[in-house]
Subunit: 335 residues, 2 copies
């Protein structure tokens, strides 16, 4: 592992994605990426008593799918990184309870999938682990209950509001596996532009994404056109537009290469999701389905994934605090 | 960095503790460790409007103390790891917002200080960072409000209940610094013995501590008597007794060497704290004061620190879930 420039790490020992799995709910199964997901759960509770347990179960299923597809067993995995949006990250703790894997809980809000992948890559690159796991999830019902209103309340949504994805993604990083290699990563800083509207998370997170992308391009001396895809996690329509504008001001045009998991996972008009999808599970389920599948097939070969998180809580928001954002980046390349 | 046995990492490039700082509240200032803390805040709100903001400010103060004592500036630090007990870890996000340091949020409940220190050590050991930061905090008032009852309710506490420490600790890991070296670490697994009593967290966490200590001793082929001190984070009186019993059943007697930050920070009888202190800030403030100070003076030379976390939430508890525990271990040695 080697530091490049001010903020970027270069993996030196070719950590590879050995397996990955995605599980989504009903609405996501009805969206444009339907065919790419490995498992679709039509029952919102997955047969559990609560939405929180259902979210945990979805994570366990994603881990099992990733293990199966890597032809590995849980005992082969030496360390797991993961987290979620629920208070005290219970989806992940209760999911990992079912596996005997040493575990370091991560909290990066919706940036957690890339954060966990960065850490899994570091552990493999540095020879602590031969095999490491990254996992995260979100669930529309558990998130709405915790962050916004009881579902029964039926509140109106603003045009900038996003829809929390019911989904989970898990990826296994190892010394051997698919020809998808972790090449670089850039760890983001907490960025705050003073946004206080919890219905406009995209705007709160876009400056962080802009900052991290700029740092990465500067550190590596590369251009947006060097990549097949620059994929953000869940900025949605509003946040994506803002990100492109912010970067244009710095003479960096990503518009030809940019897409956003939150805009890919739903048919925004038809499915009435306003600005698009959000939640830890948004980036996780899109990355661990269509994106990594297309890399396996060499339809995508050189991509940047930037997951963004809004580091607020209902308490901080009620107390009038603004919403800080963070964005972490990982560079994946086929071999 | 090298893997030893099944669960333990050996740091190979001598990451050192370059600086550390501790800040505590009024009750902690009146306890037996008073003289060791670097800063004492008598005002519960530290001049802020809310307890949550006060907790964030306490973290910022601990970071500044650690930087100052390491004769470093925030720009020197290349990555920060930290977390706390509040929903969405807001104490840490808002504290780190004030520093321009790349940040990876950690969630290990009360095990967060050791978890963050493990990660900071890994980043320095692997040459990603020359200087890395670990920080965490807890605050009695913000924790009570979130986890238990409004303070005004004045509920009775059970004998096994613990008292959340108002405190923060920060440590800087670097290639140069004090002669305190990170030698090994062991990452714990989620362990669940079916405890459901949220007033007996010690019992929920002791099995995890026992499991991690056993793994470490086995992996390194060492004995409790090889260490000056085996320090747990916040098991309190009840949890500490249980830990010793659990290890005795495995023919491992730590009683001559064991102490617990939660029992050290208060005069349990005089200060009426029942089973002792708890919270992320318990282990952090004790480690980053008396313990590291005594290592600087070579009064302690070879210690194990095991911080434990209870990975539940009020929601999971209300839903009848048991309380999973986790414990991470770090081995520190003077040079």
């Amino acid at each position: 592992m080697k530091r490049i420039g001010s903020y970027t790490i270069q993996y030196e020992n070719n950590p590879l994605i050995a397996g990955f799995g995605s599980v989504v709910g009903k609405k996501e199964s009805e969206g444009p990426l339907s065919q790419w997901f490995h498992k679709k759960e039509i029952d919102t509770k997955l047969g559990c008593e609560t939405w929180e347990q259902a979210e945990s179960k979805m994570q366990s299923e994603a881990i099992e799918l990733a293990l199966e597809r890597a032809t590995m067993k849980e005992n082969d995995v030496q360390v797991a990184f993961g987290g979620d949006l629920l208070n005290q990250c219970i989806s992940t703790s209760y999911s990992l309870r079912g596996f005997g894997i040493p575990f370091l809980g991560q909290y990066g809000a919706c940036s957690t999938m890339v954060q966990s992948l960065i850490m899994a890559g570091i552990m493999v690159d540095c020879n602590f682990a031969d095999i490491a796991l990254a996992v995260t999830s979100s669930h529309f019902c558990s998130a709405e209950r915790q962050y916004r209103f009881p579902l029964e309340y039926g509140g109106q949504r603003t045009p900038t509001a996003q829809w929390t994805v019911t989904g989970s993604g898990a990826a296994i990083v190892a010394k051997q596996g698919n020809p998808i290699c972790l090449k670089h990563c850039t760890i983001g800083k907490v960025t705050d532009m003073g946004i206080t509207d919890i219905n406009n998370m995209g705007a709160a997170m876009a400056p962080a994404a802009s900052d991290t992308i700029k740092s990465y391009l500067w550190d590596t001396g590369t251009l947006p056109s060097d990549y097949d895809l620059i994929l953000t996690g869940d900025l949605g329509k509003t946040g994506s537009e803002l990100l492109r504008e912010l970067l244009l001001k710095e003479n960096t045009d990503i518009s030809e290469r940019h897409n956003d998991c939150g805009m890919m996972i739903y048919d925004i008009e038809r499915q009435d999701v306003h600005s698009g999808g959000s939640g830890c599970g948004c980036c996780a389920s899109v990355l661990c389905s269509i994106i990594l599948e297309k890399m396996c097939r060499h339809e995508l070969n050189n991509i940047l994934v930037i997951a963004t998180g809004a580091l607020m809580s209902p308490t901080s928001n009620q107390q009038g605090e603004s919403i800080p954002g963070i964005a972490h980046l990982i560079h994946l390349q086929t071999q």
